[in-house]
Amino acid sequence: MSVNRRQFLKRAGALTALGLGGSFVLTGIRGKIADAASQTPSYQKQKQGLVAKHWAMVVDMSKFKTEEDIERVIQSCDTIHNIPDFGNKKDEIKWIWKDDFEHTFTESKNEYLTENFKELPFMIMCNHCENPPCVKACPTGATFKRADDGIVMMDYHRCIGCRFCMGACPFGARSFNYRDPKPHIKTINPDFPTRTIGVVEKCTFCVERLEKGLKPACVEASKGGLIFGDLDDTNSEVRKIISSKFTIRRKSELGTQPSVYYLVGGEESV
């Protein structure tokens, strides 16, 4: 089929008209929706729920006596946050987990420690650093520090999965969805989003629970082993412990200022 110049111009003109008309129709509809939205009250930050200037956590190791104490805490997080279990270390996703003293505080170990001490289990999660290297690294702002309470958050819809944050985090706190997590979640909690393939995730100090006035799930399950509160509030329990007892933080020499403190001596100290 041959098209001469006149025919071509005619057809092109008709198509353009159609396209422009179509876009007018669409913007018209969208405009109306926008109008409707603007009539409803604008978004306001919820006043209810727990608020703080700087959320922090104290891990009181004296309260974690048995394997059950630890497993209960981990399970509480895994079940409500739809953490998948792939059954292999490579694709593993974890928000809170345990490791032994020797590997958690690599700079503090010494060869004379008894095996018992070396193997003492410690709870590990995202440190919600004051200077988070992951946030600095993220090229899209998908991971960011909330200005009002210091929680380091993830936007699973903006993350491109470049894993620069995983390279940047000196604590190994971040996990990547190497595979589709959904088939590997034992029972899905419909109140919390499941993640998609190809995005990074980590502990968020249970922001969804804080909004409802609840403490993080792990804190609730720990029966006093994990103490959570506002570090900027001089009367808070965390502040009192951190300022008057001997606590340590992971890799504090790197200057990231972790917000998770470990009370090692427990009640016996100071």
């Binding site: 590997h103 090229p139 993350c159 894993r163 390279g167 990547f176 190809g198 995005v199 990231t256």
Partner: protein, 386 residues
């Protein structure tokens, strides 16, 4: 000019179709990865970057190395590089495109990759890396195409292209510096967090890139009527640059080893122990690292002595230097940055077959781009020679 790539000998077309077949296999492997996720690769929670990012890092260097021809030729009026310079620019184009593809196949959500530009984060080195890489691609496309077009017409290149050529010189340094900053600014990754990283990157790039370029030029000389160095000493001049760049590279590496081991800092020493001797019984990178070390020494030795003028030994020397740098940067550097992990445990990384198919596919795309661009350049030159 592009029409010149569409006519060629049987051998030319056979090579093109061979590359297309390899690319097709790579595309198929990528589709699998696109559907099933990066779990198909050897990467893990502990070693979260692998071959893809390593190739990206290495190829940024190859791209930047065009500056080793552009600077002498355009800035110092070093005429000997007159026939080589276009090959350097076209190699840079292919290398940058491969870099972009390696980033693309590495991200978990490729359809969102433009979020980097939609939500630019001025504190993220990756944002700057994307900007300088895209800019470098445009610069080399414009410069390469315009200068070759002018040559075809037998006229000097237009005046407006000169400032762009000068701009390409600092720009080439910037792409590899920014790439080094991706790694050198991460607290807790002791293998990467070193002030000399950018300098090391540039030195290794200015050895590996021109080494590849000479090998390609020798191939061009063999396969076509166009000789990029008809007895004017262009190749031997470039050999000198490669030699000193490689010596600087090895020197910088020794500086790193000295600092780590004389200070006796466990964090600094651990990755070096891992790559040279193995750590906690994990030794997968040891054979690679020693091969690279031997190749580096052999390559430098062959280029120091008059052996550099020997027709057989020169390609061997260049190949040694290229491979030494490729192993160091394209395999070891990235993987060993994750070893030991932040818990001082060793997780090893082994690329999967699917992952390797994708890597080979992208290299085939690069080879295809080089073939087509070089074919155009050669055809123009052959025409002008008659």
């Amino acid at each position: 000019m592009f029409e010149k790539a569409l006519t060629g000998s049987k051998r030319y077309w056979a090579w093109i179709f061979f590359l297309l077949a390899v690319i097709a296999l790579g595309v198929m492997a990528y589709l699998r990865q696109f559907n099933e996720g990066l779990g198909l690769t050897g990467m893990s929670r502990d070693v979260s970057w692998g071959l893809y990012i390593a190739q990206f890092t290495f190829l940024v260097g190859v791209a930047a190395s065009a500056v080793m021809l552009v600077t002498p030729y355009y800035l110092h009026d070093f005429k000997r590089f007159g026939k080589l310079v276009i090959l350097g620019e076209f190699l840079a184009i292919a290398a940058v495109i491969m870099c972009i593809l390696f980033i693309f196949v590495d991200v978990g959500q490729p359809m969102r990759i433009l979020n980097v530009l939609l939500y630019p984060q001025l504190h993220s080195v990756m944002f700057y890396d994307m900007c300088v890489l895209a800019g470098y691609l445009v610069i080399n496309l414009v410069v390469g195409w315009t200068t070759l077009g002018a040559e075809k017409k037998g006229t000097p290149p237009p005046k407006w292209v000169k400032p762009i050529i000068y701009l390409s010189i600092p720009w080439a340094f910037s792409i590899h510096t920014v790439t080094a900053f991706l790694y050198a600014g991460l607290p807790g990754r002791f293998f990467w967090m070193t002030a000399i990283m950018a300098a090391r990157f540039l030195a290794s790039a200015f050895a590996a890139g021109p080494a590849l370029l000479i090998l390609l030029a020798l191939l061009v000389r063999k396969l076509s009527k166009f000789d990029p160095d008809p007895g004017i000493g262009a190749i031997q001049s470039l050999v000198k640059i490669i030699r000193y760049a490689m010596i600087a590279n090895v020197f910088f590496y020794i500086c790193e080893v000295f600092t780590a081991f004389y200070s006796n800092s466990p964090d600094e020493m651990a990755p070096f122990k891992y790559v040279f001797f193995g750590l906690d019984g994990h030794t997968s990178l040891v054979p690679f690292m020693w091969t690279a070390a031997v190749l580096a020494i052999v390559g430098i030795a062959l280029l120091i002595f008059p052996t550099r003028e020997n027709k057989v030994l020169l390609p061997i020397a260049l190949l040694s230097i290229f491979l030494a740098n490729w192993i160091d940067k394209g395999i070891v550097l990235i993987i060993a940055g994750f070893v030991p992990n932040s818990f001082e445990r060793v997780t090893e990384y082994f690329p999967s077959g699917n992952e390797i198919s994708i890597v080979v596919g992208i290299y085939a795309i690069g080879a295809l781009i080089i073939t087509v661009l070089y074919k155009i350049a050669i055809s123009v030159r052959e025409q002008n020679q008659i």
